[in-house]
């Protein structure tokens, strides 16, 4: 149960400035809660790397191999000669492979998204409903009262209209 200091800002630039300042003054990783994606958030809060691309790649790879194995394997499992074609017919099976590559690429991307963004999460977490409308919130973890007051000062200084103490 970590206490967080949470400041509400009117504009994204103020919020990002506050987050940058908090990060610079030795606090834990601040997080910005915003109603729109902020293009510049990474510049302030540090670059993020996501594992989604690995999920996508390996999902697509699995789908591709699995798709060909499905088409070729089932053709061999129960041999039905059709139209004088070979049993393992490359070109049509590549179409199946292609579709399965994309299908599993998509599914794995979704799983990657859920895993890396920690969804679904139905427990109570730090959140302010205003941040889904037009406010920009900055939350930073604080170990004790002293740290909280220090964070509050920084948030207020950066232009926060309101600072709340929230616990997760």
């Amino acid at each position: 149960m970590a206490t967080h200091a949470l400041g509400l800002f009117e504009t994204p630039s103020e919020a990002l400035a506050a987050a940058g300042e908090l990060k610079g003054s030795g606090f834990g990783q601040p997080s910005v809660i915003s109603p729109i994606p902020l293009e510049t958030a990474e510049e302030v809060l540090g670059e993020k790397k996501s594992v989604i691309k690995r999920f996508t790649f390996f999902g697509a790879l699995f789908g591709g191999l699995g798709g060909f194995a499905l088409a070729a394997g089932t053709a061999v499992l129960y041999v039905h000669p059709t139209g004088g074609r070979p049993i393992i017919t490359w070109p049509p099976f590549l179409i199946i492979t292609y579709e399965m590559t994309i299908l599993f690429g998509i599914l794995a991307t979704v799983i990657g998204f859920l895993v890396s963004a920690r969804f679904p999460a139905f427990r109570d977490r730090i959140y302010v409903p205003e941040a889904a409308v037009d406010k920009f919130a900055v939350a930073v973890p604080c170990e004790d009262r002293g740290v909280f007051e220090k964070a509050e000062a920084i948030l207020r200084g950066a232009g926060a209209g309101e600072v709340r103490e929230v616990t997760e």
Partner: protein
């Protein structure tokens, strides 16, 4: 690595086109157009042998006739100098059949005797095989058919009755082929030429139709195939049909 060798060996085998070539029988029919009188006895015989429904006048007016073998008619020239040409048309049992590749559920495939088999139970009725067939010899059950008493008494017990939503077509009387193969197996021999005849061949009064095994070079059908009059219908489509037509001799042209 024997596993990899096995894999590569079977891979090569399965990559070989014309998988059916190595099989024992390659049933073939030849149609001598010089002998054919267009009497239509083959149609009736087929109807009786294969439980083909009598669809009735209305359905025929709507273009839903059911004839596994039909006599195609073509008029040539203008009246009064007019000629009627005709050609019996039935499933050509193509070795490179377009209908087989298109079926999503493998309801039609090439069996071990070089026949184009239709599995009624497996058919889901997409009707794409009928579209892909350039010979238009596949017939669809648009609705359930019934046989008025006492016609149901003459249904052939060796042939299933097809329900609505199922495609059907000439099978070269596969039930008779099965029977002949069973007898031959019991007697420890191959099926001989003349052991088996589809209903249409059996009925043809002028012996215009000849049926047999193409793999047997001495069979009557193999010999007719060497005739200089022999041709395939729509040969340019490369479907490799198993039905051979012998051109009509033009007596008035001589």
């Amino acid at each position: 690595m024997s596993f990899i060798d096995d894999f590569l060996a079977s891979w090569r085998e399965y990559r070989e086109p014309g998988y059916y070539d190595g099989f024992d029988y390659h049933w073939t029919m030849s149609v001598d157009l010089d002998r054919c009188t267009g009497c239509g006895a083959c149609i009736t015989a087929c109807q009786a042998e294969n439980n083909i429904p009598i669809v009735g006048e209305d359905a025929i007016a709507r273009g839903r006739e059911m004839q596994w073998i039909r006599i195609e008619k073509y008029w040539e020239g203008e009246f009064p100098d007019v000629k009627l040409r005709f050609i019996p048309m039935l499933c050509q049992h193509c070795d490179a059949a377009p209908c087989e590749t298109v079926c999503p559920v493998s309801a039609t495939y090439h069996n071990q005797d070089g026949l184009n088999a239709q599995v009624y139970n497996r058919c889901i009725g997409t009707r794409s095989c009928a579209v892909y067939c350039p010979y238009e010899v596949r017939y669809f059950n648009y609705n359930n058919h019934h046989w008025d008493a006492p016609l149901e008494q003459q249904l052939n017990p060796d042939v299933s009755v097809r329900e609505k939503g199922v495609m059907e077509k000439c099978s070269f009387c596969i039930q008779r082929i099965r029977q002949a193969k069973d007898v031959a197996k019991d007697e420890g021999r191959r099926v001989q030429d003349g052991d088996v005849q589809p209903a249409c061949v059996q009925t043809c009064p002028t012996e215009a139709l000849v049926f047999g095994d193409q793999n047997d070079p001495d069979s009557r059908v193999s010999q007719t195939m060497n005739d200089e009059r022999a041709y395939h219908v729509l040969e340019e489509l490369n479907t490799a049909p198993s039905v051979v037509y012998l051109r009509k001799v033009e007596t008035d042209a001589v």
